[in-house]
Symmetry: C2
Subunit: 754 residues, 2 copies
């Protein structure tokens, strides 16, 4: 347990989930995990890779204070401002929280109010004891109103059921003003309209993380609207358009402006109010089409069962034999690893691209929400292993996004089709290469390779111009030159692997050469990866402990980034002076005594074990590196240390941002006993399992089982690993060996097998 | 000449236009007329009913000071800030000025600068002597740069030719910030993008007169762009979206924001820079498609000739024999009457509707820019007379707009498909009825009638709820109740005429009854039309001179509005006590001695002759009313008085806003000797011609000639009117008589034929 986790331990014992009759693994999912502390996950309802993430929001504060509420919900809060339909799972930077609705019983207030002053607005207090969080279902009692709120989700439709207290007037408030990472002026324009049949539609355009993002919706109720008012709450504006001599329609069926609120009144209700909401990044008409196609009828319970079945089906890909707590951790991690990318295509196959234009997805489903700097490491490789058909759509989506890119390059950090330019590298390249190298073929490899080369050679991006000229990114030209040089070199290597597999020797040779550029960042004198100046020398002064903006590194320091040569670990070992020195330096990283306040200026660096920061991605492969230097027992020891301290079946059970499933995918792989240290190679480094038995049901019809015995705290080390009964000489496993099916057995023992 | 006109007389003698070889009537058009004073016309290039109005802008001031610059140009100004692609012709309220470009030689400044301080920005001084204004062509020398700027237009494409001084670097600045009726925050969002082939595209969304209006464009140059920079000039914003660790592309191919400026550099040029720009209210992709389809090749002179030919063709509908000055006035008026509605449909037939959604025009062309309170009076009836095929498209556009209306009603004041709710009444109804009654049949009359009834019965609009209940619009519920009661009653009557002609007796009866509602506004005690309170009595205190907001009237007072019963002039005469008293009261209106400052708080009431205000529409039929009371010679006298004082072949030659051609259409009809006092009847009131001979070439193949002799100031009265040689007993003419062809001859004489 990292030091700061202990500060965040919450006094709430998690209640057992209410389990439906179904017996699949969805029952082991606990969406509370990560909703406290720095996990930034959301507790609400969604389906695998679904467009809708319908979840309660406890706050959407000013963007300067918003890091903690990146998912709109923090477990420590005691009031809910509403339920919105879009959320990132575990992001650092953020946005979304679109189409916020709040049921209200009795008097209607139009502002959310101050959490510190209950009753000051429409938000309501709640008690965790009233919450039910399940895969595909969320419920809570809104204490201030006595309303039972239930949420479930389809792929494009969010379903709500609100049970009002008897005799109180029922209202639904729709607030188009707030969003996650909020600030004045974020809403550029919004529209709200009520059609004759009671369908409410609208759109809003915001200048958030992806500037100029338009999100539309269509909403229907299961009971007639008795009355309703569409408010424009913006009062301090010079000119709202023509306000003539009173001849405008008085009873507005439509509003447009920058601060719209709709209040829908239903009188006193004899049965629960059900609401269904479809969204579209394209248009209100598309949202209506999505609602028509995917949101037929009114049967909340059936929809809830469908969502649960979707999760049961998705999670059935791995059967795990472990304690209830470990199962909860494992399946919640697998669940979190299946939340991105998200479907970003309407039923008519239209999607919005990074050029903000509307495109058509022919022959594939378009997905977006690409936190590529994170997910290329383990989350996407996990999808390649478990569901290569889905990966095919992911890769076709990446290539389609590139075709619609004004720059002609692959996504960097994209959502709802739009680009944010967040983080560094061109890590869509290893995502594609990893799939190809592991046999995924359902996409046009030639077009994909073109897109990868275009991304790796687009001079204006992250100073690729100088990188291509000098072999490194000069720190006097471009920030964080060391990290960029290292990550570009790895991306280049991954590109070369795919080119080689395709027989494209020219491309392979070019990028194989660039893959060696990590050496330009290596400073043998200090023994660290560093950034150079344009004219050659490393920048001085140099402090290996320094991290953050202005340094040589991206969300990291020299202790963390100097291990980033996944494409050539033997080369890195040689550079560091051989196995022994390499192992010693790894130990020094983990064993360092660090002031916990050292990284307080870099929000994302959390989960510290010495310098090792499990809460952020640059560290994720480091514990496995002992394997490469002949000390796999040290990998095993470090993994146990990390699993024990960085993950827990509690709301604050993730030591850092889940980062769209990367933290969770690390858990899944590590629990299974192997990890893709080098995506785009077919090799996994073997660690040690944390489950007694796990069977992967592969899409080729084969089963691959991992087993470990005896598996307990008294036997933390691996004595021998056998694949189908034959001992493995080295702690590495090939993808093809998994695909062939069979059993990987770990004989566990008390002492390290040095 | 009205009193305030004399104050506005400009010291500039108009130069003869530079006439091309063509000999059509386009050569008589002088687009300068109305660009000074209150005319609010624009001098730039356009084609009949074209989507593009490419015209110089001298100022786009704050909306509080913008009335004078409603067309972006005022003849009294001495500098030009650029050339933009959309303008209203003669509106009071305003908007547009989209896609402003400015050629720059030498140093580039990014702000337009202060006209009072030449050189303080990119704007340039100019001299009227360097201007050439013709139908479809405009040229000026930008003195500060020595650039000769020439503009011409197609239906969807604006064409520019800029001849730069030798040796100076050539630049084109594109400013997406300013617009007509400007104010901080008007631009909600805008985008700018440069494609690989040099095509520049963009869109901007503004909260102007039609809130949330999106206008896109596509622009190409005839020479390669040497370099370019896309600026986002907004600096005082909390958050512009993620600005990460410097990894964003440095050389932007795209920008989005609220203050975008693009500067395109061409080095020193060997030949003139040509620019072509297409626009679209739908999307940038549609703008590109418009440019591809309608903007092929590079031949500015050919495009100029095409525009001229389009005007020659449109104006050939009437051949007029008159002095050069009168011809200039006449054909300029006819030109101004052919500028609205404007094409608002892309080449793929897509258009934006009042629901802000995109629709498809099948089988017709969609037009918008509907200043209906103005143009139903004479401009649209003139189109029905001269070009009923075009009227068919206009009417289909109105009905299509109704089908896309969130309220299910016809347009009120719409442009680019969007509704502004400006002014009063439902005057799309008489526009449609007038066409139908006069034989236009190319539209679905049943659907049109449904739309008309829907508009006339939509309770929330302008308190139609009370109007339908009480027979009048009560002033305690709705402002300007007298004007609204009167105009609704006329609109109702027009609806009844169409229903009757269709054999829809039920509808006809209902609205024939409502047509009598004008009587509810008539106060026999004071002898004025007044507004009543909900419970019956007229509101007191009452001041017949009072005009403007808060009074009983819309842009008028009791002296002006009490004549508004075009559907029942005999009834009005009876109410006023018979012919003699009616004529006396008309005389009292024209002969009243009024303090010119009386209406200074109501911008639109201009062009005073006594209480008669020719500068605004409620007066437009009044001079013809003498005809109905047996005093046609007084109509003749008043018409001469108006024609002499309210129109002149000078920049300040329109005594009020041209109002999308209504002022000009009044001139055309009056010059021809007759006027549609009651649109939706087939009757014209006969005045007296102001041209010696005019032949209308009707689309049914017939010619109808008006002649007058002797026509001079010594013979201002009509002795006898003959139609095909037979004297007319009464001063009225039927539409069918015109359509039958023939000659209407006026024998003029020195003295009135009392």
């Amino acid at each position: 347990m990292r030091s700061c986790l202990s500060r965040l331990v919450l006094a709430v014992a998690l209640l057992p989930s209410f389990v439906l009759a179904a017996t699949g693994h969805a029952g082991d999912v606990d969406p509370r995990i990560g909703t406290g502390g720095d996990g930034h996950t959301f507790p609400g309802a969604t389906v695998p890779f679904g467009m809708i993430q319908l979840s309660p929001d406890t706050a959407m504060p000013d963007f300067k204070h918003a890091y903690k509420w990146a998912a709109g919900y923090q477990y420590g809060d005691d009031s809910i401002m509403g339920f919105s339909h879009t959320h990132f799972s575990g992001s650092g930077h953020s946005d979304l929280g679109d189409v916020l609705v709040m049921p209200i019983a009795g008097e209607v207030k139009l502002e959310p109010g101050d959490p510190a002053h209950p009753g000051s607005g429409y938000r309501s207090r709640f008690d965790h004891a009233s919450e039910v969080e399940q895969a595909g279902y969320y419920a809570v009692t809104l204490a201030d109103y006595g309303i039972r709120a239930e949420l479930t989700a389809g792929r494009r439709v969010g379903w709500h059921r609100y049970t009002f207290p008897t005799g109180k007037s029922a209202h639904l408030l729709l607030d188009l003003r707030p969003s996650i990472y909020d600030y004045p002026g974020k809403v550029l324009w919004s529209k709200l309209q009520v059609a004759g049949d009671g369908t409410v539609t609208g759109c809003r355009t915001t200048r958030g993380w992806a500037p100029g993002r338009k999100l539309c919706f269509a909403m229907r109720f299961n009971q007639p609207i008795a009355s309703r008012t569409l408010y424009d709450r913006e009062n301090d504006v010079v000119y709202k358009g023509f306000k003539g001599p009173g001849n405008q329609p008085v009873d507005h069926d439509a509003q447009n402006g920058r601060a719209l609120v709709g209040v829908f009144d239903f009188g006193t209700l004899a049965k629960p109010l059900e609401v269904k909401v479809a969204i579209s990044p394209v248009s209100a008409a598309n949202a209506v089409a999505n609602l028509d196609a995917d949101g037929k009828g009114w049967d909340f319970d059936a929809r809830r069962a469908q969502a649960r079945a979707a999760w049961d089906k998705a999670l059935a890909v791995i059967d795990v034999d472990a304690s209830a707590t470990v199962r909860r951790q494992f399946y919640t991690a697998l669940y979190h690893a299946m939340l991105s990318p998200t479907l970003s295509m309407d039923v008519n196959r239209q999607y919005r691209g990074p050029d903000h234009a509307v495109h058509q997805a022919n022959g594939f489903e378009f997905y977006s929400t690409w936190s590529l700097w994170d997910v290329y490491r383990a989350q996407q490789p996990l999808m390649v292993l478990l569901n290569p058909e889905r990966s095919t759509d992911f890769i076709r989506s990446l290539v389609a996004a590139r075709e619609a890119s004004p720059f002609g390059i692959l996504p960097v950090w994209a959502y709802q089709g739009l680009e944010t330019w967040c983080m560094i590298g061109y890590h869509a390249v290893p995502v594609i290469a990893d799939a190809y190298v592991k046999g995924v073929r359902g996409f046009d490899a030639g077009k994909a390779l073109d897109a990868m080369v275009a991304s790796a050679t687009y001079a204006p991006y992250g100073d690729l111009a100088d990188y291509m000229k000098l072999g490194y990114v000069p720190i006097d030209k471009e920030p964080e030159g060391a990290s960029k040089t290292l990550e570009y070199a790895y991306d280049d290597w991954s590109l070369a692997q795919m080119a080689k597999a395709m027989g494209r020797k020219d491309v392979a040779a070019t990028f194989e050469k660039r893959a060696g550029n990590w050496k330009n960042a290596w400073d043998p004198k200090t023994g660290f990866m560093r950034a150079r100046l344009s004219d050659g020398p490393f920048r001085t002064p140099f402090d290996p402990a320094a991290a953050g903006y202005g340094t040589d590194y991206t969300e990291g320091n020299a202790y963390q980034y100097s291990w980033y040569v996944p494409q050539d670990v033997p080369g890195l070992i040689r550079a560091m002076g051989g196995d022994a020195k390499f192992v010693q330096r790894l130990d020094d990283v983990f064993d360092a005594k660090i002031d916990p306040a050292h990284f307080k200026h870099v929000e994302d660096i959390t989960g510290l074990i010495g310098w090792y920061a499990h809460g952020n991605e640059p560290s994720h492969h480091i514990a496995y590196l002992y394997d490469y230097a002949g000390a796999p027992w040290k990998t095993q020891r470090r993994l146990k240390q990390i699993m024990d301290s960085q993950y827990a079946a509690r709301p604050d059970g993730l030591s850092g941002n889940d980062d769209l499933g990367q933290m969770s995918a690390w858990y899944v792989f590590t629990a299974l006993g192997f990890y893709p240290v080098t995506p785009a190679s077919d090799v996994y480094a073997i660690g040690r399992p944390f489950v007694g038995r796990a069977t992967l049901h592969l899409t080729n019809g084969k089963n691959f089982t991992v087993s470990a015995a005896p598996l307990d705290d008294a036997h933390p080390y691996v004595g021998e690993v056998t694949l189908n009964g034959k001992p493995l000489a080295k702690p590495f496993l090939h993808h093809a060996q998994i695909l062939a099916g069979g059993e990987l057995h770990f004989r566990m023992q008390a002492n390290p097998a040095r």
